[in-house]
């Protein structure tokens, strides 16, 4: 009787331990470099809090490289489409509800990375959800993470056609630089833009959330 009790307890404990170890855990993925990444404002009340202030459940290891597991094996890209908000075209005056795209649930934000992640490199890429940008099109970015640091931001989708494609070519490098220098997408708001123009920021935030930064 006693023995079967221990067996049961042991099994449950083991199972719990196994389940708790998820390589997707952002705290594991980014190691100590979390300190560099500023918090990302989440759109919804997500319980994910990869913040340095919060005492992490996982013991922090000093060297980030050592503690970084390769999550490529477990991170299965979902084939979910970008949110339906992208469909709403040609509305000159968006209703206030529209600029806030549907809150991406964890399933939705994990859109597939378009580049097939190669094998041995430590670079990992994470794709943000596409967001609708003010009558122009979908903005979607991909970020590259190396050892817990964002090293590149690549626009996957930027508005094309008319003036916007011309000016995108000019200004994306600046924009990328600004985001990289700050290692953050935590801009709370934007001066000089009407509300709906924060599509880039949202896509970046979702990519960073996917990366666990």
């Amino acid at each position: 009787m006693k023995r079967s009790f221990f067996v049961t307890v042991g099994t449950i404990a083991g199972l719990t331990a196994t389940l708790r170890y998820t390589p997707n855990n952002p705290l594991l993925n980014s190691g100590t470099d979390l300190a560099l990444g500023k918090p990302i404002p989440l759109d919804s009340g997500s319980s994910q809090t990869p913040d340095t202030q919060v005492t992490p459940k996982v013991p922090r290891v000093t060297a980030s490289k050592a503690s970084t597991p390769t999550p490529t094996a477990t991170r299965v890209p979902k084939t979910t489409a970008t949110p339906t908000s992208t469909k709403q075209t040609d509305k000159p005056k968006p209703k206030p509800t529209k600029p806030t795209p549907p809150k991406p649930s964890p399933e939705v934000t994990r859109t597939p990375t378009t580049t097939p992640t190669p094998t041995i490199t430590t670079d990992q890429t994470f794709t943000g959800t596409g967001f609708w940008a003010r009558g122009y099109g979908v903005v979607q970015v991909k970020i590259t993470v190396k050892d817990g640091q964002m090293t590149a931001i690549t626009p996957l989708q930027f508005p094309t056609g008319g003036d916007s494609s011309r000016i995108s070519g000019y200004s994306i490098p600046k924009l990328v630089q600004a985001a990289l220098t700050n290692q953050t997408s935590s801009v709370a708001t934007i001066s000089g833009a009407s509300f709906t123009s924060d599509a880039f920021r949202k896509s970046l935030a979702s990519a960073m959330t996917n990366a666990g930064l």
């Binding site: 508005p159 916007s164 934007i190 123009s197 920021r201």
Partner: protein, 265 residues
């Protein structure tokens, strides 16, 4: 009239509430953050929004039933204006002097139009209203004119992106704003709508002008004045000790003031 209210949380474990208000032909965003938002947060934000509509009732030049329209059309005198309208026009007069006449709401066709001051001023008033209502960490974004109070996260000032005038979805720089206002003026957003009072035509020296300082209405007006005059505006702008500016023309970026001093070296 449309508005939404939603509550979420930040990565710091703070609560955040966002209220969107459709007013003035745009959307004004009111955002509050705190470890624990007061229970009446939504009510306070609704009251602040009611003020924004009140501002429209006073200052809209698109409606004929407002005091400012009556003044513009000659149906009313300045002395008949509500006190707040008179005060705003008085402020505009002061700013006109300060900017050597570059900011001039009286130089536009169709009569006096203080719109270049009102948006930033209203954002300031709304932000202060929210603070008085018990929401100590707030930002109000009135279509690009932003007033910030308190913090965006524990110990962190509000981080406000500055719109890239060449790319609607780009951020040119980020500014940390603490109990101040930031306003960006440019014609990339709304098309040609600014008149150069000295030439009476629409030529502008810059693509975009961003101003950071302690007064939202003044920030709004100074951004427009610098957009018109460009770096020559430094002669009056630099007399304002607490104020900073980021000016963008087709090739260069120019910075003035304490907010942009840290980039040295």
């Amino acid at each position: 009239m449309n508005s939404t209210f939603q509550v979420g949380s930040t990565d710091d474990g703070w609560q955040k509430a966002i209220h969107l208000e459709e007013v003035w032909g745009t959307v004004v965003v009111l955002e509050a953050r705190a470890e624990l938002l007061p229970i009446n947060a939504e009510t306070v934000m609704q009251e602040a929004s009611a003020f924004l509509h009140q501002v429209d009732d006073w200052f809209s030049t698109y409606r004929v039933d407002t005091p400012i329209s009556a003044l513009r059309m000659g149906f009313a005198d300045l002395v008949q204006m509500p006190e707040v309208v008179a005060q705003v026009l008085e402020q505009c007069e002061q700013i006109k002097k300060l900017t050597d006449g570059v900011f001039d709401p009286w130089a536009v066709p169709g009569g006096v139009d203080p719109s270049g001051y009102v948006k930033g001023w209203a954002a300031d008033v709304a932000a202060d209203f929210l603070v008085d209502g018990g929401l100590s960490n707030v930002n109000v974004n009135a279509a690009g004119d932003v007033s910030c109070r308190g913090f965006q996260a524990p110990g962190e000032p509000w981080l406000v992106g500055i719109q890239d005038p060449f790319n609607k979805d780009g951020i040119l720089a980020m500014a940390a704003i603490f109990n101040s206002a930031i306003a960006t003026s440019g014609e990339y957003e709304r098309g040609k709508h600014i008149i150069n009072p000295s030439t009476r035509n629409r030529d502008l020296a810059l693509i975009s002008a961003t101003v950071i300082g302690p007064d939202g209405g003044l920030a709004d007006a100074l951004a427009t004045a610098l957009l018109i005059e460009g770096t020559d505006g430094a002669r009056w702008f630099e007399q304002l000790p607490d104020w900073s500016a980021l000016l963008i023309d087709t090739e260069n970026a120019f910075t003035f003031g304490p907010a942009f001093k840290t980039e040295e070296g």
